[in-house]
């Protein structure tokens, strides 16, 4: 089960290590759910550029898209080495992990030419304008309307929510309803939106942590040129499904998990907790879950690197990542006292994790998806909308709504 790297891969790892020795002295550290001020974001942006220029961002991207045309195994090696050193990866994981691959699949040659290279370098960050107050896990219920005018341009009105990094992004990828008379999944179109356009108002949305990592985006008579459509008009749901497929892989990497080393350090650093045998059993239970998460992530990563399609574990990681991390945080606070809630990493994560549970789709939707896809369980019957609103046949034949809220 231990994968011996090929000579080429070992060589790649050696070269990347040597490159890191030389270039990573002042690289920003890895964060887990920690707030980022503008200065920190600027530093992360610069680091993404350094990585990208050396060919260590978007490693599997083809050269035509500005990438180094590397292998999944090389991408895994880079991630492992960065993780081992506690160094941040590229900041714009939304752009690199989700938007970029979606543009490669559905974008026009002009769009690919315009957007991919600045995306890779971090010169232009991306955000996702998908979820709405009435369309979260049930993403296809998007109500933001885009109307095409005589000259081919579009006029958009509506509201988006849970938009991470909208305040830092140059572009957004937006799902809007272009044909209100069509069936729920049929009348949607995907657009590229410049985030500094008139008609967009970005309002930070404070969370339990007190920070505002998300935003609400109000869209009021936003004008878009005809060539801002990604894919075909009316084909937005297919484009969204492509992106959500990439999103599941990205969120499934256990991005938000508590690091076991931090938990051990917290207990080891507390005289009373360290010596208390009564804490050992629970610590071992919590640690076993985190270890299980780590090894499951490695399994999925190896499967991807090996060219295999991961099974249910990719989605299960998301669930375990939140449950095990919250359990771990609570254990640490129990062990070292509730002062830990008031400030610092543990209190921050206790506040942040309940929101992460719904990122990329609620846990309940994810469980439905896994139960239906991997255990072969029958779906719940869909409620058939009134015939006047939607054609019955099309609505019932539509695919199940995937995990849909933007992270």
């Amino acid at each position: 089960m231990s994968l011996e790297l090929t000579a080429d891969q070992q060589d790649y790892r050696r070269r990347f290590r040597a490159w890191l020795d030389e270039h990573a002295l002042h690289a920003p550290p890895r964060h887990v759910l920690e707030p980022q001020d503008d200065a920190a974001v600027a530093r992360l942006r610069a680091w993404q550029g350094v990585l990208a220029d050396a060919g260590y961002v978007g490693i599997t991207w083809p050269e035509a898209a500005g990438g180094p045309g590397g292998t999944q195994a090389e991408a895994v090696i880079v991630e492992q080495e960065l993780d081992a050193r506690g160094i941040s990866g590229p900041f714009d994981f939304i752009g690199i992990g989700m938007v970029g691959p979606t543009l490669m699949a559905h974008g026009s040659p002009e769009q690919q030419d315009r957007y991919l290279r600045p995306l890779l370098r971090g010169d232009e960050f991306w955000c996702q304008l998908l979820s709405e107050p009435g369309a979260g896990s049930d993403l296809a219920n998007v109500q933001t309307k885009a109307r095409q005018r005589e000259d081919g341009t579009w006029l958009v009105n509506g509201q988006k929510v849970w938009t991470s990094f909208a305040q830092h992004a140059a572009h957004g990828i937006m799902l809007a309803r272009t044909d209100p008379s069509a069936a729920k999944h049929k009348g949607l179109t995907m657009f590229a939106v410049p985030m500094d356009a008139d008609g967009l108002k970005i309002v930070p949305l404070r969370q339990i942590t007190g920070d505002a990592e998300f935003n609400e985006v109000f869209i009021d008579d936003l004008e878009l040129p005809a060539d801002s459509v990604i894919g075909a008009v009316g084909d937005g749901w297919r484009v969204a499904l492509t992106m959500l497929g990439f999103e599941r892989v990205a969120v499934g990497s256990g991005l938000h998990a508590v690091r076991l080393e931090r938990l051990v350090a917290a207990i080891a650093g507390d005289d009373a907790a360290r010596e208390d045998p009564a804490l050992r059993v629970r610590m071992g239970q919590v640690a076993s879950q985190l270890l299980s998460l780590r090894h499951t992530s490695e399994r999925v990563t190896a499967e991807i690197a090996d060219g295999r399609t991961p099974g249910p574990e990719a989605g299960l990681i998301k669930i375990t990542s939140v449950l095990a991390s919250l359990d771990a945080c609570r254990f640490v606070v129990d062990a070292i006292g509730p002062d830990a809630l008031a400030g610092g990493e543990w209190g921050h994560q206790v506040s942040a994790l309940p929101g992460v549970r719904s990122a990329g789709g609620t846990e309940e939707i994810l469980r439905n998806l896994i139960g239906e896809r991997f255990l072969g369980l029958p779906p719940e019957p869909r409620v058939v909308p009134p015939p006047a609103a939607r054609p019955v046949a099309a609505a019932t034949a539509a695919p199940a709504a995937p995990a849909g809220a933007t992270a």
């Binding site: 804490l279 629970r282 255990l375």
Partner: protein, 362 residues
């Protein structure tokens, strides 16, 4: 990083599944509860080469690693089979590590004799074994360990006791030797072969483990094997519950379409699959230089696997409704397996504590 199973591993796994299926092991577990003797699976284990899995080829063994053993135990657990490997394999691994004579290892590898591991922290309650070395290679044993896995029917006991200074001492003794009492006990799960083991001045052969082998090797391996078996049983319970949820109709549709049922099944899958990742890690650690991380991985696997089975076994009953709680249904057999397993080999909580201790020491 992890690869798919090698061809050899896949073959081993498929062969195990096929061999066990021929033995109708679930029916055997039920019959044992009804007072019949449990089907002897030892000949199957001998035929398949499982008895010598961890013994080197110079002593007629197969010389494979822990991961292969874990695959076999997972297959056993899935059909509630107990081939008496939980005692035999850790015992042979310790004899192998201590370089015990080839004749003794060969008899065990060929399955002519069966071994069990007697370790004070591997019973169903804490035990104690005091060892006095007489200077001529004889270890005099006194003490007792309750609920030793596979001690009922074992020919050879591999014993880890402590001398007056508290230093662990490994020794081996015939189960029929003077001063050794093995008292079989009937358990909640009829497929087990537990016994209380007592020593009163028993004269055992002292063995020496090399300095780079942790005395906890046998205990940790047993916990890992039990973890693999539990993962198999949890998976068996999941498969049973999933099949029923697709089949059973209530209020006009299959109960598996209801989220209340679907989410429970996914939780079974989540816990089982997570524990399986730790089995893979345990197999890797066994093969690593100096077996680094083996104690941590094995005990974490045991902790997670016990949690998975603790969840899956009762939920399987609940998903079946009232029929799940009857003597006639198989769900109760998985439940019995879960309830007893959790308390064996030192108990699941001891494994969790070992995880914490290993992390704080590292």
């Amino acid at each position: 990083m992890y690869l798919a199973l090698t061809d050899e591993q896949s073959f081993l796994q498929e062969a195990a599944t096929a061999a066990l299926a021929r033995c109708k092991t679930v029916e055997a577990a039920r019959a044992a509860l009804d007072g019949e003797p449990y089907t002897d699976l030892w000949p199957v284990a001998v035929d398949a080469g499982w008895t010598g899995l961890l013994v080197s080829e110079d002593a007629d063994g197969v010389g494979l690693g822990a991961y292969e053993a874990l695959l076999i135990l997972e297959a056993c657990g899935r059909t509630l089979a107990d081939a008496r490997l939980l005692g035999h394999l850790p015992a042979t691994a310790l004899l192998e590590a201590a370089g015990a004579d080839a004749e003794r290892r060969g008899a065990l590898a060929r399955g002519e004799r069966r071994a069990a591991l007697v370790c004070p922290s591997s019973g169903d309650r804490p035990g104690k074994v005091a060892v006095a070395l007489d200077g001529s290679g004889v270890a005099v044993l006194d003490g007792a360990v309750p609920g030793v896995l596979d001690a009922d029917g074992a020919d050879v006991l591999v014993v880890l006791g402590r001398d007056a200074d508290g230093t662990p001492v490994l020794s081996v003794v015939d189960a029929g030797a003077d001063g050794v009492t093995v008292t079989p006990k009937r358990g909640y799960d009829g497929s087990r072969a537990l016994a209380n083991v007592a020593f009163a001045g028993a004269r055992a052969t002292a063995l020496t483990l090399p300095a780079d082998v942790a005395p906890s090797l046998g205990r940790d391996l047993q916990r890992a094997l039990l973890a693999a078996e539990s993962v198999g049983s949890a998976d068996g319970a999941l498969q049973m519950a999933t099949a029923y949820a697709k089949d059973r109709i209530a209020f006009g549709r299959a109960i598996g379409s209801y989220q209340a049922i679907k989410h429970k099944l996914v939780e079974m899958l989540r816990l089982t699959d997570g524990a399986r990742s730790l089995l893979v890690a345990t197999g890797s650690a066994w093969d690593a230089e100096g077996r680094e991380g083996f104690t941590l991985a094995a005990n974490a696997a045991r902790t997670a696997a016990a949690d998975a089975l603790d969840y899956a076994a009762p939920e399987n009953i609940f998903i079946h409704g009232g029929i799940g709680a009857t003597w006639e249904g198989d769900a109760m057999l998985y439940y019995r397996r879960a309830e007893l397993s959790r308390r064996l080999s030192g108990g699941a909580e001891a494994a969790a504590a070992t995880v914490a201790t290993a992390l704080l020491a590292g």
